[in-house]
Structures are given as structure tokens and as C-alpha cells.
């Protein structure tokens, strides 16, 4: 195995376009795969020297979070945490203090686990990712990346440089909740991310909900704009959201939860995350 750590996005793309090349960000998934020989790279391409890939910046109308920025640095960024508390609570759930010091949003997304905690929250927040490749950059929504467990839509030579989130609007809030069998450090049985904003009269102006660990990829709930925009966020509406969440799940049965259990929990977490996001939007 060889190791390279180029200083430009172009050189990283060239290195990644070769057969058997793997991108290294925080390494908290990749090094475990090397150890267990689930991955046997010919070359590990360390992407952390690419400009802006380890940065958090407020630029004009959006936030930039570099794809290899450690989660600990993101949650310590007070302004960002104030704008997107749900995204921060989601990424803070990834592993221990030690893991937080290395793990990144780019890695969590490209590892392509259906249970990745940061991904539903990023999708709810309408996050896009900037992808660099040999032919330049393209920007796509986060939900277009994961294709199936362990598989992404990135082409050979492409990697994610960073994420763009809108600045949080007035009267908006987001939240992420997950259920695990223990109290900390486990893989989500179900995760639910909600982001919403209210108009001046307290009715819903925009809403987005994404679920994790209930299907081969993250699930974005559909039909929410028609159902919710212009409506009071009352119990009747919440019960409709719960039904949509339950119906959208296509989970597996495994030791951490049955299909029925996961569907029910998806509804419960959607309801609770909605309430938290709503409280945040009001304050």
C-alpha cells in the first residue's frame, strides 16, 4: 500500500482516479477496514491537505463545512451550532471523544452506511456537497450521494471537498434524534432529522424530514410541502407526519430491531424531533 497526501484538489482527483485508490479523511472507518482487510487499497490518498477541506466559514448566504473537518471542531463552532443545532447534535453522536477528534462529515457520508447519524440531519437542512473531480467541480444535494449500503454516486477520481448549508433563516429550527439500545456510542436503530421554518403568523413556511437506518439509504419524506406549508403545526398535522414516516420505512429485521419496531420508532422520533425543531423555530 502506498500513501500520498497532495496539496491540491486536482492532484487528489488524479491520484483517486487510479485503480485501488481510497480517500482518507479522518480514517475512523477506513483504518478499521484496513485492519479487518475489508478494504485493501493500493494507494491511500490523504485529502486533508486540500485547501478549505478542513475549514468552517460563513460566506455570504451560506455556511461552508470542509469535508474533512473533524466533528469536534464543528460542534465547538458556536455560531454554526447556533444556526444548525440539529446538525450538530447529529454529528456529535458519532463515536467517542477520540472519534470526534478525527471523524468528518465527508467520511460519514461516503462510508455510505444507512445508519450514518449526520446524514439525515444534513439532508433535512438542505445541505449540498461540492464534489471535485478531474473535470472540475459539481455541486449536488447530499441525498444524491448514498446509492446503497457502502456505495456512493461518486465517480472514479471524485471526492467531496465540502458541504454548503444555508444560513439559518429567522423563525427556523432543526433537530435530530436517534434510538440506540444503549445510552451512547452505538449504531442507530432509527434516526430522524427535521428542519422547518415558520412564517410571521406561526404557520409552517418550509419543512424537510429525513430518516436514517430504516432503508438501504436515507429516506426523505415526500409530500410534506403540500401537507404542511401554510398550516398550523398542531397535533393533527403531527399525526399525519407520523403516518408518513411509518409508511416511508423499508427497514430490515436484525438484532437491533424488527421491521415493526423500526417503523413505530420512526414515527415516534419524527414526532419528537418535529417538536424540538418547532420549539427552536419559535425562540
Amino acid at each position: 500500500m502506498d500513501y500520498v497526501a497532495p496539496n491540491s484538489a486536482q492532484e487528489v482527483s488524479q491520484a483517486l482516479s487510479k485503480e485501488g485508490a481510497f480517500a482518507l479523511a479522518g480514517g475512523t472507518d477506513l483504518l478499521v477496514k484496513l485492519k479487518t482487510r475489508m478494504s485493501v487499497p493500493q494507494t491511500v490518498v490523504d485529502i486533508k491537505n486540500v485547501p478549505r477541506i478542513r475549514s468552517i466559514e460563513k460566506t455570504g448566504d451560506s455556511w461552508w463545512i470542509g469535508a474533512a473537518t473533524p466533528c469536534a471542531e464543528i460542534s465547538e463552532h458556536a455560531d454554526f451550532a447556533k444556526d444548525w443545532p440539529g446538525v450538530v447534535e447529529a454529528l456529535s453522536l458519532i463515536g467517542s471523544t477520540q472519534i470526534q477528534g478525527r471523524a468528518s462529515l465527508g467520511g460519514n457520508l461516503c462510508n455510505a452506511s444507512p445508519a450514518a447519524d449526520s446524514v439525515p440531519a444534513l439532508i433535512a437542512a438542505r445541505t449540498t456537497c461540492v464534489i471535485s473531480g478531474e473535470s472540475g467541480e459539481r455541486e449536488v444535494p447530499v441525498e444524491s450521494i448514498v446509492q446503497s449500503p457502502g456505495k456512493t454516486s461518486l465517480k472514479q477520481g471524485e471526492f467531496i471537498v465540502g458541504f454548503r448549508l444555508p444560513l439559518s433563516a429567522n423563525k427556523s429550527g432543526d433537530a435530530y434524534l436517534r434510538l440506540i439500545p444503549r445510552t451512547e456510542m452505538d449504531i442507530a436503530v432509527v434516526g430522524a432529522g427535521v428542519a422547518l421554518s415558520l412564517d410571521t403568523s406561526g404557520k409552517i413556511a418550509a419543512i424537510r424530514i429525513a430518516l436514517g437506518a430504516v432503508a438501504p439509504t436515507q429516506v426523505v419524506l415526500s409530500g410534506l410541502e403540500d401537507l404542511c406549508v401554510g398550516k398550523e403545526p398542531n397535533n393533527d398535522l403531527i399525526e399525519k407526519l407520523v403516518a408518513i414516516a411509518e409508511d416511508a420505512c423499508k427497514p430490515i429485521d436484525d438484532k437491533r430491531g424488527t421491521v415493526e419496531y423500526r417503523k413505530t420508532i420512526a414515527g415516534v422520533l419524527t414526532k419528537r424531533a418535529f417538536s424540538i425543531a418547532l420549539d427552536r423555530a419559535k425562540n
Binding site: A5, V32, S96, T97, Q98, G101, R102, E184
Partner: protein
Amino acid sequence: MAKKHVSTTINGDEHEFLCHPQQTLLDVLRDELDLTGSKEGCATGDCGACSVLLDGRLVCSCLVLGVEAQDKNVETIEGMSSGSDLHPLQKKFIDLAALQCGICTPGVLVAAKALLARNANPSEEEVRFWLAGNLCRCTGYDKIVRAVMEVAAEARNTQ
């Protein structure tokens, strides 16, 4: 594959070493530099016995490649005492018998020091949460948590 040449700073001293790209920082510390204080427990980032600071950030050295240490600042358990003067955390762990077999202890101490550097007055919950990535399979956690809380309290009283 040829070995890579790496220049880094470990516990304030400049070091140069050669390592294979697949060797972890933990492998390099223990096998190339004879710094065997950091321990290998799980080798998959679950147990925290290999905890070190990398540019001031607490990480598992088993999940860092040795080559990634280029131009970085690494702090290990070997840098914790000043010569034979133990760090207050080390003394307190002995006084309160907050260790038994000792395999987890270097990682716990490095992690606890990192906590107290950023939070001089942690609650018990904060100590337990911060140290949740450091597994101890013999003494248990109560004495470890008590030792960290006492060191924090004593440091505040002497300021």
C-alpha cells in the same frame, strides 16, 4: 512498498522515523520509537488505550497512520510527568487506586488531562461522557472518575 520518511514532534522533541504506509501511529510509537506507554487494546478505535493528542486533539493512535504525523505535534503518556515528578492526575490515580491491571491507564490519563485542559470544572456526567471512549475492564469507572474530579477540584483551589 518503500518506507516513508516522517518528521514530527513528539512530547516537544523533534523526531524522524521511517515507516510503512500501513503502519499506524500506535505501531510507530511502540515499535519504531520505543514509546510503549500507549497500549493496543482493540486496534479499532473502541477502547481508547492508545489515546494520544494530535495537534492538541484527543485521538486514538490506532486510527491514525504513522505517515499522517508529518509536521504534527504528538503528545503521549510519556510526556505527562516532568522527569520523576508525576502529573497530579498520575499521583491521584495511585492514591485512589484508580487502576488495577493498568492497560487502560495511559489512555485514561491522556484523555483526562485533555478534558481538564478545556474544562477546569467538569461535572461527574461530563467526566463520564468525555471518558466514555476509554474502556476499563478491571477496576471499573467510579475510582477513575473520582480521581479526575478530585484533581480538578484541587487545581481550582490552588489557583
